[in-house]
């Protein structure tokens, strides 16, 4: 067993849920981190502290509580900006999550800029949240939605992008930086370079990348970037949209209501400055404040170490899982091209049966289409099982998974 670059034993003590037992007496082995991560006590305490000591609405009131809450809320914006290397804090917009962030772009930017016969390009390994908003938009506008396919290694076939770009009709190329099913890390720089040359905008879904690797938006040179707090130790119901100021200023608002206005008259309204123009209504204040603590936690560990820990663990898990006869593993085999996500199918055992069998040993893995039915169709499967790792997972836990898979083997007489 190899020592991790992270002090995993210490980290685990910060996650109370990892101490609990499931199925009567089994220690919880939580391997569904691509879905949502667990939360350290520091984040839970930050949320609790807001409700205990600062609870008030932000931005308008003048009394002490509201000033404190507003300043904690706004401090998160600075932390987020620094964490993903964004210079202008007003380009960081709080949303409910990646899904809402992408919908915001499709609605506000898309409806203004996409016309009949234009093309939006996405990929075969997108989450439904990066497909459905574009279907809605292109159907409404009479525009087209095209897909960059994947090869048998689970990597994008980028030549297909050239073909679309040559038409001169592409308005946006939108893709995830890391697949939530295959774990494939997208060659982001290459896609952005191609799109820049063609004068085409890019949106990156960073829901899986930001929690697990160092992301530098400024250096990347994309136009839109989205991610969710709950997959990176933060609370649910908080996400980020980043876009360049020039673009955000040109975009009409998404939701109308409080906070996003400058002046409201009976028939006319003027918009507030960025980022508030896109933050209508009372936000998830507690969640945003908790998110700051999650970012502090990850920053202290260092994202390069997080990535190294997961790579090492994923390498170990891939080795162990692939030793099992009749196991089909999806996605890149080259560990430098994949994050800590492993999708697999075992003999003729349906993923739901497999997930419920390993659950008896306390192992939480996901089964199903993972909100990526387009990808399932491409892989020609109805579903897969998926194990995904984070900072608190250990090689011992992988061993528990392997043992649990062996139980499935016995039950199904493989």
């Amino acid at each position: 067993m190899q020592a991790s670059i992270l002090n995993v034993e210490k980290i685990r003590k910060d996650f109370p849920i990892l101490q609990r037992k499931v199925r009567e007496d089994k220690p919880l082995v939580y391997l569904d981190n691509a879905s949502t991560s667990q939360k350290p006590i520091q984040v839970i305490d930050a949320i609790r502290n807001y409700y205990l000591n600062q609870n008030s609405n932000i931005h308008r009131a003048v009394y002490a509580l509201a000033e404190e809450a507003t300043s904690s809320f706004e401090a998160t914006r600075d932390k987020v900006a620094k964490f993903v290397n964004v210079k202008n804090r007003e380009e960081i917009i709080f949303t409910r999550g990646t899904t809402e962030a992408i919908n915001l772009v499709a609605y506000a930017w898309g409806r203004k800029n996409v016309e009949k016969d234009d093309i939006i390009v996405t990929t075969e390994y997108e989450h439904h949240s990066n497909i459905v908003p574009w279907q809605l938009l292109t159907k409404e506008k009479g525009a087209k939605l095209e897909y960059i396919g994947i090869d048998d290694n689970g990597e994008l076939i980028l030549d297909q992008l050239d073909k679309y770009l040559e038409t001169g009709r592409v308005k946006l190329v939108t893709f995830s930086q890391m697949s939530n099913v295959l774990g494939t890390i997208t060659d982001t720089n290459k896609i952005i370079a191609k799109c820049k040359k063609a004068g085409v905008k890019t949106l990156i879904d960073g829901a899986q990348s930001v929690p697990h690797m160092q992301v530098d938006i400024d250096n990347m040179g994309c136009d839109f970037f989205t991610f969710s707090a709950h997959k990176m130790l933060g609370p649910t119901g908080v996400g980020i949209l980043w876009a360049r100021k020039e673009i955000l200023e040109e975009m009409p608002p998404f939701h109308g209501g409080g906070d996003m206005i400058r002046e409201v008259h009976k028939y006319e309204t003027t918009w507030n400055d960025l980022p508030y123009k896109f933050e209508a209504g009372t936000p998830n204040i507690a969640g945003v404040i908790g998110f700051a603590t999650a970012i502090d936690y990850l920053s202290q560990l260092g994202m390069l170490s997080v990535r190294e820990h997961e790579s090492q663990l994923t390498k170990y898990a891939l080795e162990q899982i692939s030793k099992i006869d009749k196991m089909k593993i999806y996605g890149p085999t080259d560990i430098s091209k994949r994050g800590g996500v492993i999708s697999f199918n075992y003999a003729d055992i349906h993923p739901h049966d497999l997930a419920s069998i390993v659950d008896e040993d306390g192992v939480a893995i996901r089964s199903g289409h993972h909100c990526a039915q387009v990808l399932m169709e491409r892989l020609d499967v109805a579903a897969t099982s998926r194990a995904s790792f984070y900072i608190y997972n250990t090689e011992q836990e992988v061993d528990v998974l392997i043992k649990a898979l062996n139980h499935a083997k016995e039950l199904f007489k493989i």
């Binding site: 003729d348 055992i349 049966d353 069998i357 199903g368 109805a382 039950l411 199904f412």
Partner: protein, 146 residues
């Protein structure tokens, strides 16, 4: 129920050797449904003749429990009086599969086929037999299965 109790010979056998798998040429009843949570799919084809189930087939994708239950249900229906088929219950299926205390999620897997059957009968009663009185009862039963 423990996995060892669920995945016994009967479930595995019906899963691996499905009975009545396929489609009928001109079925009197065609019904399809899926479980959006887990993506299980099921389509059932039934022929009714002289008030009896003359033939039945199903196609589908899903876990061992959902597919075994569909497979077994088709056997339970075959040749039966239409009124008897209308009466098939949740308990009948679970008992025949040897499943007693399933958790809520897995129960949905086990009952998808019965739900498809009930909705199929409902459509048949309404469209072909113009019988609304017993149809409504069946529809209520079907919607109570999930």
């Amino acid at each position: 129920m423990s996995s060892a109790d669920i995945y016994r010979e009967i479930i595995l056998d019906y899963y691996r050797n499905p009975r009545n798998f396929g489609k009928l040429e001109n079925p009197d009843i065609v019904k399809r449904d899926s479980n959006p949570l887990c993506g299980d799919e099921l389509e059932m084809h039934i022929n009714i003749k002289d008030n009896k189930v003359a033939d039945v087939k199903y196609t589908g994708k899903g876990c061992a429990i959902s597919q075994a239950s569909a497979s077994l249900l088709t056997e339970m229906m075959m040749g039966k009086d239409f009124d008897e088929v209308k009466k098939l219950s949740k308990e009948d299926i679970l008992e025949n599969l040897g499943l007693t205390e399933l958790g809520p999620t897995r129960l949905k897997c086990a009952l998808l086929s019965l739900k498809v059957l009930k909705y199929g009968i409902y459509s048949y009663l309404i469209e072909k037999l113009k019988d609304t009185s017993s149809a409504d009862k069946i529809k209520k039963e079907a919607s109570g299965l999930f």
